[in-house]
Amino acid sequence: MARSWKSRLATLTVIASASALVVAAPAMAAPLTTVGWSMSNPQPSITAVRYTWSFTTATTATIGAVTFTVPAGTAGTPSVVDVYGLTGGSAALSGTTVTYTVTTPTSIPSGTSVLISLDGFTNTGTTGTYTSAIAAGSDTGTSNSVTISNNSTAINVVVARSTAFTSDTTSFQMLMDPSVAALADQTRAVHLTVATNATNGYVLNVKTDQQPTGGAPARHFSAITADKSSGVASGSFTNGSFGYTLSTTGLGTGTSTPLTSGLYVGYVTGGENVVSASGPTNGDTMTITNRAKIDYTQPADNYSAKVTYTVVPSY
């Protein structure tokens, strides 16, 4: 019996020791993966060039500095434009080595994608094909080849910030008559389409300069509700009122419960964001159905209003 316990204890000791060795094993140098290097302009001797390096760490280690080799003759005072995977720091060029020094080094997990983008380089005047050797902690790697030559064509594709807005209606009139039921309660749909490449989408703002008003200011329609926060069902639409309901397809959605529930809300003179989208879209459609309802208490007059739909992209 005693021999059995000794045997078990020995086995446990061996396992524990092996585990401790595995846990405490020092990080071994390993090759960086997905190593990349690019420059904004590959012409020789040109100034104000942006160099961008990217790689993926192979081991978990505290990285205090990352070094990159650049072609002999490279000059300039680099400034940091963008970094991810690491934290803030500064960059310096000495000879053929660029060093990005992390201000507060921390442990970087293996498999972390790192990007370092530096501005302010002047390309070497010697044409040729170059690679950049990268060292991050104990991990090293070599980048793809970059050719610096007069024959190189710098390709710079610039996509503008763009927003398109389509509407099928720029004005409408309603022929209303309280003596005919079909003419005393009318709707008019305005169909809108929005397309934008804005990263954070867009908002559609709706406002009016006034509720439909006749020749005398006292003669006007009332907003069916004070704003988008409250709405009325179709059957509860009251006489002498003007309002709209909203339906959307695509990424954009109504910004209040009444707007997403098909209820009628009133136009606001100060304007309200009624549709919001969180990303780019090739074409969201919105139908704003305007409605006016009268009875014999509505004075005969020419009522007019100006409604403005504004699309504002979000970047």
């Binding site: 997990p109 004005s171 919001s276 309802k293 014999y296 009522y303 209003a305 409604v307």
Partner: protein, 327 residues
Amino acid sequence: MLKRAVALAAAVAVAAGPTAPAGAAPVPHPTTTGSADFSVSTSAEPVSPGTDGIVHTQLTVANNGTHPLTVKLRSVKVEPQDNGQSVLTDDADPTWTPGVTVNPSLQLAAHTYRSVPVTIKVPPSLLPDVYLLGFVAEAQPVDPDGAVRIYHRIGALVTLQLAGARQRQLKIIFTPNRFLTIASTFDGGFTVANVGDASALARSQVRLGDRLIRTSDSMALIPTGTSRYAEFHYRVHGFFLWARPQAQVNYGNGTATLQTITGHGDRLLVIPWYTLVLLGLIAATLTAYWIWLRRRRAARREAARHRPGRHRPTAAAADQTKTAWAA
């Protein structure tokens, strides 16, 4: 009364096609002269002034419709909001509008576009910063006499960067999370607020467990007084996650050095269902083993009791012996 009604009917005349009685399904209208189909584009990159202190950029306005369109352009004030959204006011911007020169009205034939030069004179008193300038392109109604005139506007934003050192001040506010989450994933978020006097271009990432998670694909502009919400998603790779998320926000101060601020969220424990199932199986196995051990010991004791020479006589047996002996 009838005369009054007829007067109302005559006053509100139909100009843009028939209307539908309430309750009828809205019918899409074909494109008519009463439509607007246009777009506005601006520079993707921030613009900067030349040595003369003047910015040269352009707005590209396109009429994508099938009839001519009049588009009016003007500079307006921008009110930056959270998460990159902006509100364009109707008012001119007192800082920028006086120095903006742009063609105020364009006549665009069908399916044509025009690149409209815009010059912006930068006020010399402005400090280095990233500024948002707003422009409104407004399509004019084809029938300006309609009872209800609809104006369609596209807001265009131009980002103007004045280079130079400027101290930025950002703050990280973590969204509180539950300590214990029973799931194989964890979704969290935090807000980066600009509490300084200058706009900041920032990029954020989160350190959680053994991962560094990027929360955005590019640097985001955070104007002063606004904030951006960043979300992160973590999938547990082991049996559990016991960690405290750390947000890191990198941003520039207009110098060669990139700054970083960090903020910590609440400590969290994420246990996937498979871990709980595994623990349950282990507990069941150990319990079964324990029961088996107890039964085996009990059986051994019982067997030992009945083994010859290894048990003491019971009191009854002793009495019987005594009785026999006495007899």
